[in-house]
């Protein structure tokens, strides 16, 4: 039982990282209709930046915040490339984000090298219900919870958040009322960069990160985002936690080599069941 609880907490922490990636995907897709496959790259940039900044002597806290800002700027730059040109379709933008992610490999290797990097997170552990839990795991879970609460308040309560939601709801109407949809899209990419950056600085102490770590992050983040239909952050959070826990349990009980496959297989089954249920509801309502 103790083992199970340990794996569960580890899984929740890893899932929170996926949830932050997924929420970035959802934020960008809701506003622009673009599936941003460069989302994992933002986490990698933040993780590598934080490791480098700590290495040159900046203190903890400052390094992480600076790394998140670098990821936010990377998000904005990706947005400029992907949607900055008027009339670019979401499909074309998706391809551009894929290209930006691949291009980033070269930049990351040039700047930080090709070896995995990490940095120490919160030291020590706490005992919760008789189970030793790393403080860093608790930090990841708490930071993710705070981030989701802030995101919800931003989109639901603030004028700017509502304008972003309006762009997602009806881009033509948003333009009619005078909202600059492209600017809002760039803001969404910057928010995506910020969320990816938060994921990167939180997860890197748990899992060393290298230039190609974005693949694992985006695969899991995308699966979680699809679980939330690319529009519902809370469902995406649930999907991400499920993925994280499934991977952790698989690794913990001796199937480490297949943890990603097991988790994604589970997600596939859930999505098939979900889509079948939706189809039944649609049939019954027509």
């Amino acid at each position: 039982m103790r083992e199970f609880l340990t794996y569960l907490v580890n899984g929740l922490a890893v899932g929170c990282g996926f949830a932050l990636i997924a929420s970035g995907l959802v934020a960008v897709h809701r506003v622009t209709g673009v599936v941003n496959f460069a989302q994992g790259m933002f986490a990698v940039v933040a993780g590598l930046s934080a490791s480098w900044l700590l290495g040159v002597g900046l203190p903890h806290g400052v390094s992480e915040v600076a790394a998140v800002l670098i990821a936010t700027m990377t998000g904005l730059l990706t947005g400029l490339i992907a949607i900055g040109r008027r009339g670019t379709t979401p499909q074309s933008s998706l391809i551009v984000t894929l290209g930006a992610g691949v291009l980033a490999y070269a930049v990351e290797i040039f700047v930080w090298g090709d070896q995995p990097r990490s940095f120490p997170g919160l030291p020590g552990s706490l005992t919760v219900a008789g189970v030793g839990v790393q403080r860093q795991h608790l930090l990841v879970i708490a930071a993710t919870a705070v981030t989701f609460v802030l995101l919800s308040a931003f989109f639901g309560r603030t004028y700017l958040g509502k304008a972003l939601s309006a762009c997602a709801s009806n881009p033509y109407a948003a333009r009619v009322v005078g909202i600059d949809v492209t600017t809002m899209g760039l803001l969404a990419f910057a928010i995506g960069g910020l969320l990816g950056g938060v994921a990167g600085v939180l997860v890197t102490p748990l899992r060393p990160i290298s230039f190609d770590s974005d693949v694992t992050l985006i695969v899991n983040g995308f699966a979680a985002a699809v679980f939330g239909a690319l529009t519902r952050p809370v469902l995406a959070l649930s999907g991400a936690l499920l993925l994280g826990v499934a991977e952790s349990l698989a690794a913990g009980y001796g199937y480490a080599a297949y943890q990603t496959e097991i988790a994604l297989g589970l997600m596939l089954v859930i999505m098939v069941v979900q889509s079948t249920r939706r189809a039944t509801v649609l049939e019954e309502s027509t």
């Binding site: 004028y159 709801s169 109407a173 009619v176 009322v177």
Partner: protein
């Protein structure tokens, strides 16, 4: 609902409620306007004008270019040549309402004030009390008439001097259309709001407007006082189903 003046139009009026529209005197001046979509010409050297405080109809069949003209005035469509200017702040009620269906009625209204930075919908609630009752409801679940009322209120949130209404009657019951038209007429007569009413329902348009333009295949093919146009056999046949004795709202 607001749109910038296109091609060098005057600056939008600042501040004030709908009552100030009469003082600011909104106008529309379109001259030699050409709009193309690829190789297709949607508007072909269109010229029209609406004076301050006037209520003018724009009639035409589907595909005539009416909505393109509205979108050009709003700044959503860029003209190939010619000018489309508005004097004062323009608000646009687009065809098919075009609300934010996932947002509440109040959020729809408040976003209508995006350009004018108006955040308080109380003046709209005073004018359209039904919207106050619906303010917490999601716009997407309202009836067609209620949605049109929200679109109407959202446009008023921008404190317009000029209102472009694209297909007020589309998909609405006659009684609902009459109620909304009555609000429009009241705003025009009591507050001096300049109105360009884009309609396929010529009876409605001739009943509430002083003048009208007829647009076909991107060109203005007729214009003049509504009474004269209603008496024109070609216009009557095309838009009124034959000659009529009197146009009624």
């Amino acid at each position: 609902m607001t749109g910038p003046p296109t091609d060098g139009g005057t600056e939008p009026a600042q501040g004030g409620g709908p009552a100030e529209a009469a003082r600011s005197g909104g106008t529309i001046e379109v001259a030699g306007l050409v709009v193309t979509y690829g190789s297709a010409t949607a508007l072909d050297h269109v010229t029209l004008s609406v004076r301050a405080g006037e209520m003018v109809a724009l009639l035409g069949p589907n595909g005539a270019g009416k909505s393109t003209l509205a979108n050009t005035l709003s700044g959503i469509v860029t003209p190939a040549s010619g000018t489309a200017r508005t004097g004062g702040r323009l608000a646009h009620i687009p065809e098919g309402r075009q609300l934010f269906p996932d947002l509440s009625v109040e959020d729809n209204l408040v976003l209508g004030g995006w350009r004018s930075r108006a955040r308080d919908p109380s003046s709209v609630y005073d004018l359209l009390p039904r919207l106050a009752e619906l303010r917490r409801r999601r716009a997407g679940v309202l009836s067609g008439g209620e949605q049109q009322m929200v679109a109407f209120g959202r446009a008023l949130m921008s404190r317009p001097d000029v209102l472009v209404v694209d297909e007020l009657s589309l998909g609405l019951a006659p009684m609902v259309t009459r109620d909304l038209a009555a609000h429009l007429v009241a705003l025009n007569r009591e507050r001096g709001l300049t109105v360009l009413l884009i309609e396929q329902n010529a009876r409605l348009a001739f009943g509430v407007c002083e003048r009208a333009y007829v647009l076909e295949a991107g060109r203005v093919v007729a214009e003049g006082p509504c009474a004269e146009l209603a008496a024109n056999p070609q216009v009557a046949r095309a838009y009124l189903g034959g000659p009529i004795e009197e146009a009624t709202p």
